[in-house]
Symmetry: C2
Subunit: 246 residues, 2 copies
DNA sequence: TTGCCTTAGTGTCTCTACGGCACTAACATT
DNA sequence: AATGTTAGTGCCGTAGAGACACTAAGGCAA
């Protein structure tokens, strides 16, 4: 104990029955899309328990380095992918007596979205211990460490839910992209086709994109390139009850 | 330390730099509606730090009594209100070096909705230390302990957001209620009037309510009483992108 | 009993915006 | 120049939202 006094006071005043307090960690579901597949980042556990098993990347709060919880998440993400300005969202916190064999534990799950091109895997690590895996395969195999399969499942649910009413998938694409590329990402995540005209109307009416001015050439008719505009930061492009759609 | 071995291993394997680990607590934003006002439950802090200040009810995980995090929330809620089957939803987890003067700390915020009639305040406690306060007054005064004002604010945001697309406010009413009563609750939370016909059409088309068969009599024309039906549990009564509304 | 007030609940019109689908536009390739 | 492919548009039918006037059913006072 480096600071027994403050902790003792802390515990006494709240009637905690002893010092065996659950540790709090952060786990990350980092998604990207590559070759028309939704992928998630996994790391191989180097220590007990569950050594050798694949797991969501994560770790403990560093009280020196991290000022807030999201700093912990960002730090872990940077360690694994080299990216330091991801789309990052806290999803849910899981705490129970049984999720870790060592006893009561708590973990805060974060979801991150990255463009595949922006990533440099496993900075300063054994590269084989950090990999992208197709999400559907991970979900079918159900062999991740601890309760990471159910955490991942809930993060996936959240992603699918938010795609219904936000422009969140833009974070899976590079800065400039075509509407067809964006629509593809939506379809990959939702797992079903979307009407082209409706999609374009909604996303353009939402006023969250702006033209870069450039075109994507290559094969066939060139396509306009778009980027996320100022007011696109909020990601929301649809409301429901009353009032015009936003 | 009751289990030094496991904890040492735990910490070592993750390179935690020492034993001064943040403690994790649970805080609750408990809402109800009474006399056409949205209210939140506050407790007066009996110990340092911030002794005497009003705060959201909360506390630490009890590793014996609680099997999961939501058990902690439910236990706290039961202690303060006597209710043990609330609508309970985890909102967000706040962790930082500064939110508590004693150092790094983490708290998981929960939102609960209760019918006013179901509540017996402050079971076995000094009744003056647990009170209902009008939410707008709390938000204006901005004098809660720790970062509880911002936690409360985020819980309020979540409530308003979900009311846009769910039937969540039914949890603020007794089991049987009229559509007008339900509409009133929506209007109180959203802070603006709603078209009667539209409201009724949406909520009835959503198929989440069923008639009890009874009528609410009293003054003027009697109104049909409704309750939440089986499929109403999910609370969702509207979708957005593509496909018919659910 | 009648008439009036209040609240519950409905009929119906208009208009927006979605899905659907056929169409045109602009390139590459041969 | 013809063909193929992808980008992007025009337009129609229709569902469902808002708006608001209307009817329904009680209490209460005279």
């Amino acid at each position: 104990m480096t600071s027994p006094v403050s902790e003792t006071t802390y515990l006494k005043s709240y009637n905690i029955h002893d010092f065996d307090v659950p540790l709090t960690s952060v786990d990350m579901a980092i998604f990207t899309v590559h070759e028309d597949r939704l992928k998630v980042l996994l790391t191989k556990r180097a220590h007990h328990p569950e050594m050798g098993k694949w797991a969501l990347p994560g770790g403990f709060i560093d009280q020196i380095k991290d000022h807030s919880l999201s700093d912990t998440a960002r730090r872990k993400l940077k360690e694994k992918t080299g990216v330091d300005t991801p789309y990052l969202e806290q999803v849910e916190t899981f705490g129970s007596a049984k999720r870790d064999p060592r006893g009561w534990s708590v973990t805060v799950a974060y979801l991150a979205l990255l463009p595949y091109e922006s990533i440099t895997l496993a900075i300063g690590e054994n590269t084989e211990s950090v990999i992208w895996v197709n999400l559907d395969e991970v979900e079918q195999n159900d062999t991740l460490a601890f309760d990471h399969n159910s955490i991942l499942s809930i993060c996936h649910e959240r992603l699918k839910a938010k795609v219904q009413y936000t422009s969140l998938p833009v974070n899976l694409l590079p800065e400039a992209f075509t509407l067809t590329e964006l629509q593809n990402i939506f379809e990959i995540i939702l797992g079903k086709p979307t009407e082209k005209k409706s999609f374009r109307r909604r996303i353009l009416d939402a006023n969250i994109l702006e033209e870069t001015g450039d075109m994507k050439t290559g094969s066939n008719r060139p396509a306009k390139l778009y980027r996320v505009s100022e007011n696109g930061e909020k990601h929301v492009f649809n409301r429901i009850i009353e009032g015009p759609r936003v």
